[in-house]
Amino acid sequence: MITATDITVHFGTRKVLDRVHFSAAAGDVTAIVGPNGSGKTTLLRAITGEQAFDGEVALDGVPLPHLSPLDLAQRRAVLPQSGSIAFPFTVLELVRLGLTAGLATGRTEGLEHLPRTALTRVGLEGFEGRMVQELSGGERQRAQLARVLVQIWEPVLDGHPRWLILDEPVSALDIGHQLAVMELARDYARRGGGVIAVMHDLNLTAMFADRVTLLGGGEVQAEGTPQEVFTDGRLSACYGCSLRTNTPPPTGGPWILPQASQLSM
């Protein structure tokens, strides 16, 4: 369980998050959605400890400051929105960095096969020897995901769930890879891990998220299952455009159709 209580963040004098409550349970994919500037990424950064904030974030009841960087790295891995890399690493070398993350020593006996397995999992088999700098944006995002997966490969460790924290994990991906990555995230949750993802695509969110937190103007607008949260009026007000939610037969989940303004008049 990850809980964030009364999170307030100021950028200078501007309040970016105002007493936000958020919680995510292991076994679920929990999505954070909202329009640009609504504070999604800021909330995620507060949860990961990158952003200074008032309030408290706790992992299974233990406040974050009480956990050492090593403890945290063993229990959760974070995929950043854009990953730059400073030196000419190969894809394999990049993914292998995840192996030693969270380990007190650099000993990786018996785990050396993991980077390759993870690369296959994100559809990058055969990319091991390529330079990270020469990859396309989507390939790079998936290579980073492989590194993050390697860090917390088993969803449950010593009875504790581990967490996959993703900041817009599919922003650079084509539709096929979007589905593959979201399926991977859902599979991680089904096997006992926890997933928190900042999402832009409401339809992917509706398909794959178990719980959704909708942010708007630095406050939580709604929280619940996609069916509960995604209502026409609430989404239209929050995103400032006309949105209509349908429920097509195959999935049973809501389906959001953007309406061009001429048509809605």
Binding site: P69, F89, G106
Partner: protein, 357 residues
């Protein structure tokens, strides 16, 4: 065929085997360069092997040969190797810390501060009370250089640290400002210097291992050795830092502690190096860069190999400096700049496509 079957093919994207093989080659080369360095010099008839063996109790060597090998050339060769290793490793650590292949210990003010200390000692040393002068004696310049380097690094570190976090970007910018300031102060003292002092200043600035003695080596050596031994413990953190500071901390790295260790070890080893050999440029940039091209950027392999190649490079430069204008000696800083400058340009031009992408 049988060999190919028993040994698995090298895994794609994995350059560790290459780095290990390179380390063996460099170790052998270092041994050869050191031996060559011991035999290099005006007294060409010196029996180096004999003198080395005699020290170990095998056979005998003349007193003259023993003196040349053990009292003159050995401290020089060891100083060259140690300083070369220190400069290359310090360069690699700084580049990892600043996430920039062009970073150099000069950037964080160590070199400028050490230079200021040395210049102040050369010009103003005579003003010290005689008792103190007698106490520090010939160590005045190295001690002042070391203190200058440390002091400027600590000031810079304090400026860049706020609320327990050190900003690498602030450090870079403040380093330029502080460098300009120490440069101006140095310039002022140089302006006040006498002609004799000016000559000392010029040669000190160009660097030399000619003045190496056992005493100097034993003073600076332990500091450099300590920094070299600390470097491998930074390897994993520096690798993670290549992905950015936030990612590194998500990977379990205590980035603040790691920055402190990195900065202090660089200040110590570069300060000690500058103190005994003066300013020697380019090794800290060229050696790590070349190794990254050859074996990849993983610091666990980069740092030890940089130490070896740095030592070899400085020893070779020292040998060149002894023959170019023989029987006189060229300051070694001139040699490293002459070799390093064009070589670095060549690397840049060859990899321009990669750098500009």
């Amino acid at each position: 065929m049988a060999i190919a079957e028993t040994r698995p093919a090298p895994l794609a994207g994995d350059r560790r085997d290459k780095a290990r093989a390179l380390r063996l080659v460099l170790l052998v080369l270092l041994g050869l360069t050191m031996l060559l360095g011991l035999g290099w010099g005006a007294a060409g008839d010196t029996d180096v092997i004999g003198a080395l063996m005699a020290k170990a109790g095998i056979g005998e060597a003349s007193l003259r040969d023993m003196t040349i090998v053990w009292d003159i050339r050995m401290p020089r060769v060891l100083t060259g190797a140690l300083v070369g290793a220190a400069l290359a490793v310090a360069g690699a650590v700084m580049q990892g810390l600043f996430r920039n292949p062009l970073a150099d210990p000069g950037l964080v003010g160590v070199s400028a501060g050490a230079g200021f200390g040395a210049v102040a000692a050369i010009v103003l040393g005579g003003l010290l009370p005689l008792a103190l002068q007698n106490l520090v004696g010939s160590y005045l310049i190295p001690v002042a250089a070391f203190l200058g380097g440390w002091l400027s690094t600590i000031v810079l570190y304090k400026i860049a640290t706020r609320g327990g976090r050190t900003s690498v970007a602030t450090m870079l910018l403040a380093g330029i400002a502080l460098g300009a300031l120490t440069g101006a102060l140095t310039g002022f003292i140089v302006y006040k210097a006498t002609d004799d002092q000016l000559r000392d200043l010029t040669f000190w600035g160009m660097g030399s291992v000619a003045g190496a003695t056992w005493a100097k080596l034993l003073t600076a050596g332990p500091i450099i050795a300590l920094a070299l031994l600390a470097a491998p413990f930074l390897a994993r953190a520096l690798d993670a830092l290549a992905l950015g500071e936030a990612v590194a901390s998500h990977m379990g790295i205590d980035t603040q502690r790691m920055k402190r260790i990195a900065i202090l070890s660089v200040a110590g080893s570069v300060g000690a190096s500058v103190a005994i050999t003066g300013g020697i440029g380019f090794i800290g940039i060229v050696v790590p860069h070349l190794l990254r091209l050859l074996q990849g950027p993983e610091h666990r392999n980069l740092l030890p190999n940089a130490a070896l190649l740095g030592a070899i490079t400085l020893l070779l430069a020292d040998m060149i400096s002894r023959v170019v204008v023989a029987p006189a000696e060229l300051p070694i800083g001139i040699v490293t700049a002459c070799l390093g400058g064009p070589f670095f340009l060549w690397i840049l031009l060859k990899n321009r496509a990669l750098l500009e992408s």
